[in-house]
C-alpha cells in the first residue's frame, strides 16, 4: 500500500527522483525513530549495568562493564515463570474473547436495524467515560461476592467485552460497502453467515489491530490485577516485578524487569503488523 506516493512510470528521470525521495523518507523515519527508541535503549543499557541507580550526563549508552547480573537476579526469583504464564494466559484469553464479542457487536451496530441500537451503543460508550479509579471499588465488591477474588475469572471475564473494540470494528465495518452484504443476502445467507463469510475476512486489519492493542494493554496492566489478586500464584508479571522494587535499592533489576515485560510485546507487535495486517491488500476486492 503505497497510497498516493508512487511516481508515474512513464516520466523521465523518475528513477532518480524516486531514489532521492526514498532516501529522504528513510532519513525522516530514522530521525523520528531516534526519539522513540532513545528511552528504550536507555532502559536496556541500564538493565545491563550491575549498579545502576542514577544517570550521568551525557548519557553513555554503552555500559562500561556490561553484565547480565540484573537478569540473573531477576530470574532467581523463582516465581517469575508463574508470573509470565499468568500474564500470558490472561492476555490471550482476553484478546480472543474480545475479538469475538467485539466483532459480533460491531457488526450489529454497523449493519443492524433494531430498536434501541443507538441508545444501547451510547450507554455502552458510557463505560469509557467513567474513570476506572472509582469503578475499581464496586467492581471489586462484585467480584468478592461472586467469590472470584484471586481467580482467572476475575482477571478475564470483566474484560471479555469492550466498547472500544466494538466501536473500532463498527467503524471498520462501515467502510465495507453494503453491496457485499446484499449479494450474500440474495444468495440466501443469514445474518451470521454474512458476518462470518463476508465481513469478518474483510476486517482482518481491524481485527489484527484490536488484537495487538488488547493483548498489549492486558499484558501491561498493573492496578487492576494488583487489586483483584493477592495470592502469589495468581500474580501477573507487572505486579510480580513490582514486588522486587525496593526504595533506594538498585534500579538495575527494575530496568531488567521492564525490559522483560516489554520484549514479548515488541515481538508480538512486529508479528501482528508484518504477517497479519500487511498483505491484506484489498485491491480488486472493493470498488
Amino acid at each position: 500500500m503505497s497510497g498516493e506516493g508512487r511516481p508515474r512510470r512513464h516520466e523521465s528521470g523518475y528513477r532518480a527522483r524516486w531514489a532521492v525521495r526514498t532516501l529522504l523518507i528513510y532519513l525522516l523515519l530514522c530521525l523520528i525513530a531516534v526519539t522513540t527508541v532513545g528511552p528504550f535503549l536507555v532502559m536496556i543499557s541500564a538493565s545491563l549495568r550491575p549498579n545502576f541507580s542514577y544517570m550521568t550526563f551525557p548519557i553513555s549508552l554503552i555500559p562500561p562493564q556490561p553484565s547480565l547480573d540484573n537478569y540473573v537476579r531477576l530470574f532467581r526469583q523463582t516465581a517469575i515463570g508463574r508470573w509470565i504464564l499468568n500474564s500470558f494466559v490472561v492476555a490471550t484469553s482476553v484478546t480472543f474473547l474480545q475479538l469475538t464479542t467485539c466483532s459480533l457487536a460491531g457488526y450489529a451496530f454497523a449493519r443492524g436495524d433494531f430498536p434501541g441500537r443507538d441508545a444501547i451503543f451510547w450507554i455502552f460508550m458510557g463505560t469509557l467515560m467513567v474513570p476506572s479509579t472509582v469503578t475499581i471499588v464496586p467492581l471489586f465488591l462484585i467480584l468478592s461476592r461472586l467469590g472470584w477474588v484471586d481467580t482467572y475469572a476475575a482477571l478475564i471475564v470483566p474484560s471479555a467485552t469492550s466498547i472500544f473494540g466494538t466501536f473500532l470494528l463498527r467503524q471498520y465495518f462501515l467502510t465495507i460497502p453494503r453491496d457485499y452484504d446484499d449479494a450474500a443476502l440474495i444468495d440466501g445467507a443469514g445474518l451470521f453467515q454474512i458476518y462470518r463469510m463476508v465481513l469478518l475476512p474483510l476486517a482482518k486489519p481491524a481485527l489484527a489491530t484490536l488484537a495487538t492493542l488488547t493483548f498489549l494493554g492486558e499484558w501491561n496492566s498493573f492496578l487492576y490485577p494488583l487489586i483483584v489478586t493477592t495470592k502469589s500464584s495468581m500474580r501477573v508479571l507487572t505486579v510480580g516485578l513490582a514486588t522486587m522494587v525496593v526504595q533506594e535499592g538498585g534500579a538495575g533489576v527494575q530496568m531488567a524487569g521492564a525490559t522483560l515485560t516489554f520484549t514479548p510485546t515488541f515481538l508480538i507487535f512486529l508479528f501482528m503488523q508484518r504477517y497479519v495486517v500487511q498483505g491484506i491488500a484489498l485491491s480488486g476486492v472493493k470498488g
Partner: protein, 312 residues
C-alpha cells in the same frame, strides 16, 4: 423507545418510530443475539458499579468504616471546590492541546509508514515503543530530559536555537504543556496503529483512478484518503478526546498534580479524594460530573460528524 427519539431529535422521528416499532422488533430481534455478550457483561459488572457510584455520591465513606448518608453535601462541596475548578480548567486545556496535535501527528506517522519500503515494519514497531514502555521508565526519562537548568537535555536543544532555558515541570505555565508533549510523544504510536488500519482499508484502485485523472499527491490525500478515512477519523478523534479527559499517569507519576495544582487533572483529583483524603463519596460525585462532561462533549462531537454513514 423514548431514548431513541431523544438521541435522534424529537418531532419528525417520533411518529416513524411508533409506527414501525413492533415491525422492527419482529424483523430485527436476531441482532440482539449479536450484542448479547456485551449486554450481559454490562449488566453484571458495569451497571451495578454505576448505581453504586450514584448511591455513594450521597454518602461519605472512607472505604474502611461505615457509609454515612450526607444527602446533597457532596454536591454542595462540588459547587464550592476551588481546586476542582482548577482541575476542570486544566483538563479542558489539556484536551484542547492534545487531541488535534496527536491525531495529526499520528496520521502523519501512519502515512509515512504505510509505504512499501524495506524494514517498514521495524519502524512501525519502534514508533510504538513508547506506548508499551512502563510509565515508571518514561517518568524517569522525562524528568531527566526536563531538568530545569541549562544543562538539561531539552534546554540544551533550546539553547542551540538561541531560546533561553526553561523550568519546564517546575514552571506553573509550562508544566501542563510539558506533560502534553510527553503524552503526545508516548501515545502517537498507539493512534498511528489505529490510523494504519483505516489507511489499509482504502483500495488501491481509487488512487490509480484518481492518478489517471491527473491528481497530484496532495490532491490524492485530500480527495481520496481523507474521505475514505472518515469513519476512522471519527473513531480516533472521539477516543482521543475521551482519553484526554481522563489523563492521569503523568500527574500521578511525575508531578503530584503540581506545581501548585498546575497539573491536577480531573481523574488525578478524583484519585486524590478517594485514596488520599479518604472521601470515596465525594470522589464518586466528581466522577459523575466528569462523566457528564465527557458525555456531552462526545455527543457534541458526534453531532458534527456523519455518524452512521457507510462510505459507499
Amino acid at each position: 423507545m423514548e431514548g431513541q427519539s431523544l438521541v435522534l431529535g424529537r418531532g419528525r422521528v417520533v411518529r416513524a418510530r411508533q409506527v414501525g416499532l413492533a415491525q422492527r422488533l419482529r424483523k430485527g430481534w436476531r441482532w440482539y443475539l449479536f450484542i448479547a455478550p456485551n449486554v450481559v457483561t454490562f449488566l453484571v459488572f458495569i451497571l451495578f458499579s454505576w448505581v453504586f457510584l450514584i448511591y455513594l455520591s450521597f454518602h461519605d465513606w472512607n472505604l474502611m468504616g461505615a457509609k454515612e448518608f450526607v444527602g446533597l453535601d457532596n454536591y454542595v462541596r462540588l459547587a464550592q471546590d476551588k481546586v476542582l475548578r482548577k482541575a476542570l480548567v486544566n483538563t479542558f486545556q489539556y484536551v484542547l492541546m492534545f487531541v488535534a496535535p496527536v491525531s495529526a501527528v499520528s496520521l502523519g506517522l501512519a502515512s509515512l509508514v504505510n509505504q512499501r519500503l524495506r524494514g517498514i515494519y521495524f519502524f512501525r514497531a519502534v514508533y510504538y515503543l513508547p506506548v508499551v514502555t512502563s510509565i515508571a521508565v518514561l517518568a524517569l526519562i522525562w524528568k531527566y530530559i526536563l531538568i530545569p537548568r541549562p544543562d538539561g537535555i531539552a534546554n540544551y536543544f533550546l539553547g542551540l536555537v538561541g531560546i533561553p532555558y526553561q523550568q519546564w515541570l517546575v514552571d506553573i505555565r509550562l508544566a501542563l504543556p510539558s506533560i502534553t508533549v510527553m503524552q503526545i510523544w508516548s501515545t502517537m504510536g498507539y493512534y498511528m496503529v489505529l490510523w494504519l488500519a483505516g489507511l489499509q482499508s482504502i483500495p488501491e484502485e481509487l488512487y490509480e483512478a484518481a492518478r489517471i485523472d491527473g491528481a497530484g499527491r496532495w490532491q490524492l490525500f485530500r480527495y481520496v484518503t481523507v474521505p475514505m478515512l472518515r469513519p476512522t477519523t471519527i473513531f480516533i478523534l472521539m477516543i482521543a478526546m475521551i482519553g484526554a479527559f481522563q489523563m492521569f499517569g503523568p500527574p500521578y507519576m511525575l508531578t503530584g498534580g503540581g506545581p501548585v495544582y498546575a497539573t491536577t487533572t480531573m481523574v488525578y483529583y478524583i484519585w486524590l479524594q478517594a485514596f488520599n483524603r479518604y472521601r470515596m463519596g465525594y470522589a464518586s460525585t466528581v466522577s459523575i460530573l466528569l462523566f457528564a462532561i465527557i458525555l456531552v462533549a462526545s455527543l457534541i462531537q458526534r453531532k458534527y460528524m456523519r455518524w452512521s454513514e457507510t462510505i459507499f
